[in-house]
């Protein structure tokens, strides 16, 4: 007669529990990548430093993509940056999250008709949270991070899974806009 009270958890359930525990740690210690892709990066120093002190949320800047959890896309993305951004995003260790800051990441913003700036970031890499504004002030940026934490808690911040699942679609979009993602020219040999 099997006891129903102390039945063993199935493997999926165990995994899920571990995942939830991991999520607790992940959302309380979000390390962001120091990659200033555009002008909204100017609002990050106040957020990081004494004025708003991001560290009290457990966030901190990290030097390399391997160490970081969050990729901040701060503002407009020129083609040249997008190539490096995709490369950097692919180097990050999973689970990884992307926060798009500024209107330019959403729809191109003020540079919507420029020949060098892409219009919609989530065509190329999955974005978990957008922070609108040109430029969003520091409170908005901080609020975006808190939103990301909430999303992680409710297991909705799974852009990195989407990237695996729809990899071909993303790759196609990247190649459509960029030609080739990894350029090989005289400056990169």
């Amino acid at each position: 007669m099997e006891s129903t009270k102390f039945s063993l958890l199935t493997k999926e359930e165990v995994d899920r529990k571990w995942w939830e525990i991991g999520d607790f740690f992940r959302r309380n210690s979000l390390w962001m990548l120091m990659y200033c892709t555009g002008c909204c990066a100017i609002e990050l120093p106040p957020a990081m430093t004494s004025a708003y002190d991001m560290e009290r949320l457990g966030m901190g800047p990290m030097a390399t993509p391997r160490q970081a959890d969050v990729l901040l896309v701060t503002g407009y993305l020129s083609l040249k940056t997008l190539r490096r951004l995709i490369y950097t995003y692919e180097q990050m260790s999973e689970p990884k999250y992307v926060v798009g800051i500024g209107s330019c990441t959403i729809n191109g913003g003020i540079y919507h008709d420029s020949h060098a700036v892409i219009n919609q970031l989530d065509q190329y890499i999955p974005v978990d949270v957008y922070v609108a504004g040109c430029m969003p002030n520091t409170e908005a940026v901080m609020n975006g991070f808190v939103d990301l934490m909430r999303l992680i808690k409710s297991k909705k911040a799974n852009g990195w899974k989407k990237y695996h699942k729809n990899n071909e679609w993303y790759k196609k979009n990247q190649i459509d806009s960029l030609g080739e993602v990894r350029v090989k020219d005289e400056f990169h040999d």
Partner: protein, 307 residues
């Protein structure tokens, strides 16, 4: 034997928990110095466990093996560490040289793994770490030589005992070496800052130059294990300092207080400093600290002038 080993493992675990909490508290203190609120005191735990929960990348077997060797070597070193006079895993074998050389296994493992990642910045970081080591160890070893020569013991607990109680017939016993050898203490404190990789001797991490040096390719569990290793290393080095200069500890509370004071003062001093270049580190240590260390050793050993 088994009990001793279990005891040693618990010492290492204690060291990890202690140092991680104190590091968190220190982050808060530093935050206040920098006019901000600072993280939660258990933030370091969150960081480490977060890293352990992530899915990392590997660059080949040496990349993983080096990390295992680094953490293993450091855990092994910590197992020898006495905490109070009685609380230690292997009484009589807590030899100073074991700490200095066994810690090097961990360093070597990390260096190997970092170089194995194939990133030049990691190799540069390792080069800088080793060079820094060459700089700070010599003055420190000279001071420790003086202490061992004066006490006649190279066992840490014996040295601590020597400082705690004044025994008739034993010269210089009963005073902390912090007071007995003030110049030596100052030199050793500088060396401790070098050992802990605090500014201005933080050259081998140097995010703005070499993007965090040896750690450049780590992420996920490897980085988490290196963080654990780093915390235990700090534990070993600071407790080494407590035992050598601050007279060890009779009970665990005194140990905690002394430990906290040493680590916090190192942190506070380091936080208003910049970062030297690597050759400046070497020149710095080989100029005044080495000279003072030799002077202190000479005065203490041959002239017997000890306060």
């Amino acid at each position: 034997m088994i009990i001793s080993i279990l005891m040693g493992i618990s010492v290492a675990f204690f060291g990890f928990v202690l140092q991680t909490s104190i590091a968190g508290v220190n982050r808060k203190i530093i935050g206040r110095v920098q006019k901000r609120y600072g993280p939660k005191w258990y933030q370091e735990f969150l960081d480490i466990f977060k890293l352990l929960s992530k899915r990392s990348v590997t660059h080949g077997w040496i990349f993983d093996f080096g990390v295992i060797m680094a953490l293993g070597g450091i855990i092994a070193t910590a197992m020898f560490m006495p905490i109070t006079n009685d609380l230690m895993a292997f009484p009589g074998f807590d030899n100073f040289f074991i700490f200095v050389y066994l810690i090097a296994v961990g360093m070597l493992g990390m260096a190997m793994s970092a170089s194995g990642s194939g990133n030049p910045l990691a190799s540069i970081g390792v080069m800088r770490a080793l060079t820094t080591m060459l700089a700070y160890e010599i003055p420190f070893m000279i001071i420790v030589l003086t202490i061992i020569k004066l006490t006649g013991h190279s066992s840490l607990s014996e040295i601590a005992m020597f400082q705690q109680t004044a025994v008739a017939g034993l010269e210089f016993s009963g005073t902390w070496f912090m007071i007995a050898l003030p110049v030596g203490f100052a030199v050793a404190f500088l060396s401790l800052m070098g050992m802990l990789g605090k500014k201005p001797f933080e050259t081998y991490i140097a995010p703005a130059e070499i993007a965090s040096g040896p750690m450049v390719e780590y992420g996920g569990k490897q980085l988490g294990m290196l963080f654990i290793m780093h915390e235990i290393t700090v534990f070993i080095e600071v407790s080494l300092f407590v035992h050598l200069f601050l007279g060890g500890a009779e009970n665990i509370w005194i140990f905690l207080i002394k430990y906290f004071l040493v680590y916090t003062s190192v942190n506070l001093i380091s936080n208003v400093n910049g970062r030297f270049k690597i050759d400046q580190v070497v020149v710095f240590f080989y100029k005044w600290p080495l000279l003072f260390a030799v002077m202190q050793a000479f005065v203490a050993i041959y002239l017997g002038w000890v306060i």
